[in-house]
Amino acid sequence: MATIQELENTASQVRRDILRMVHAVNSGHPGGSLGCADYFTALYSEIMDYSTDFKMDGTNEDLCFLSNGHISPVWYSVLARSGFFPISELSTFRKIDSRLQGHPTTHEGLPGIRIASGSLGQGMSAAIGAAMTKKMNGDTKTVYCLHGDGELQEGQIWEAAMFAAHNKVDNLICTIDYNQRQIDGDTDDVLSLGNLRAKFEAFGWDVMEMDGNNMEATVNGLKEAKSKTGNGKPICILMTTEMGAGVDFMMGSHKWHGVAPNDEQLKDALSQLTETAGDY
């Protein structure tokens, strides 16, 4: 059990990794990655039960899926810092011949990744399948899946949501990165999501809310979600976050969805985040 302060320290290092990774290749998606740094840190440090000796089947382990694959930097950083692969490998992100592809893939065999994502809207279906296999195998562990909120505009999400409730896939916790932003602007301006709680409830899910940029709230929220498993309903966490969280000039708009900081901006951003575990 890590203290909240220790988890916050890890998240600070993860945020530094994200910024340095996207800066190095002048591409990638810092906004959503920074916003979800606390979620991934909490999940891998405090919540999930897993082995870093990676096996695709993940039998008797909790599983993590990333449906909004563009925020791969945060996942790669947390996987590396949790021991799945060498931290130094973060420097290969998005470069030719790397296992750290722009969007997560199984193709290059990166430990920790169980399905490709990047084309939005497909992760929930795969997570449901993995959760159903666990049930069929008598495996009592939990499947976690993260989604973007803009991603919920994809129809497949709602096919999956209907299916999960109908089939009582209650070992599944889908978290929505509810930052209310996407590429072209605020989700409300692009294609409003309406009342997400009411929508998921109407689809038959158990819905909770959680502040995803408050470490204590995130840890407690994920624990609460876990306690709700096994009750006949899939679980949805509406996780409020700020795109660009942790870097003052990246917050407050959609502009940093997929733009890398330049040298000066990187310096400014890093000055706001303590190096707690050593940069890669």
């Binding site: 790397s98 084309s119 803009g150 294609l191």
Partner: protein, 316 residues
């Protein structure tokens, strides 16, 4: 024979954006839809000029295709805009039933096609889209080679009645065709005449082919370079005429070897005038993250691969 001259580096997607604006000015029935990628598709100028004719579809491509099909009923000319992957594979059945089979006048504008989208990697680098789209009965398939040709093609397809797939890319690439050119759907463009071998290229590979031809000519070969911007309908006459003269062909494209331009050319030759042919294309593989030039090199699409293919074919 068409003249070409390098002028500058510019992205083909900007050719689409500028062509769309022009098409919008010429015809008030031109409308545009985009699935949360307005900036990437360079559709902002159209959106600003014609806010009432711009439809933000959100991240919901299947719905966008269906809405576009519906918009044609009553006379609109919809251009859908998203990445090539989400313009084809993602929405294949919507295109097949609601657009192609129903004969709807939808223009599917597909950016970031092929390996040259670069760092985003294989999930986004579709290399199967030409094949998917050319298999659909009645679908016109166009893959222009530079900024100017893309702009001209965009304007031309707005004036053409029927479904069109327009494929273009992300990176800045050499511009070498003239401004304000006339774009004729289905008409090959011959950039260089020669007697020993015909290089037939589309998209970003046309410039690579011209560079390869330069090198080969310096080595004493006489090389003909034909740009097929319209993969379907194919300019059979131009290809057969050239091959009757040279007797050898190399095709070059930023696409899977299976299902691409090379397939179409091989089928044409097999039926009419079987001759040795070599294919410069991705050989049954997914792409990966990297810089466009690095990927062209690694996956065998660049100038050196074209030169090597020509050397192989002249030995056969």
């Amino acid at each position: 024979m068409a003249k070409y001259e390098y002028t500058e580096m510019k992205d083909t997607r900007s050719g689409f954006g500028d062509g769309l604006l022009e098409a919008g000015k010429r015809n008030k029935d031109v409308v545009a839809l985009c699935a949360d990628l307005t900036g990437s598709l360079k559709m902002n100028a159209f959106k600003d000029a014609f806010p009432d004719r711009f439809i933000q579809a959100g991240i919901a491509e299947a719905n966008m295709m269906g809405v576009a099909a519906g918009l044609t009923i009553g006379g609109k000319i919809p251009f859908t805009g998203t990445f090539a992957n989400f313009s084809t594979g993602r929405v294949y059945d919507q295109i097949r039933q609601s657009i192609a089979y129903s004969g709807k006048n939808v223009k599917i504008a597909a950016s970031h096609a092929g390996l040259t989208l670069g760092e985003d990697g294989a999930t986004h680098q579709i290399l199967e889209d030409i094949g998917l789209m050319k298999m659909l009965p009645g679908m016109v398939v166009i893959n222009p080679c530079d900024y100017e040709q893309t702009k001209a093609a965009t304007i031309a397809i707005a004036e053409f009645d029927g479904p069109v797939y327009l494929r273009f890319g992300r990176p800045k690439w050499p511009v070498f065709t003239p401004p304000n050119q006339k774009f004729e759907i289905g008409k090959a463009v011959t950039f260089q005449e020669g007697n020993d071998v015909t290089i037939i290229a589309t998209g970003h590979c046309v410039w690579e082919s011209l560079k390869a031809a330069e090198e080969l000519e310096a080595g004493g070969l006489s090389v003909e370079v034909i740009n097929i911007h319209t993969i379907k309908p194919l300019d059979n006459d131009a290809i057969l005429k050239s091959v009757a003269k040279t007797g050898r062909v190399v095709t070059a494209e930023e696409h899977q070897m299976n299902g691409g331009l090379g397939d179409s050319v091989a089928q044409l030759l097999a039926r009419n005038n079987p001759k040795p042919i070599e294919f410069v294309a991705v050989d049954d593989s997914f792409g990966e993250s990297g810089k466009p030039e690095e990927l062209f090199e690694k996956y065998g699409l660049g100038k050196s691969s074209i030169v090597a293919a020509v050397k192989r074919v002249v030995k056969r």
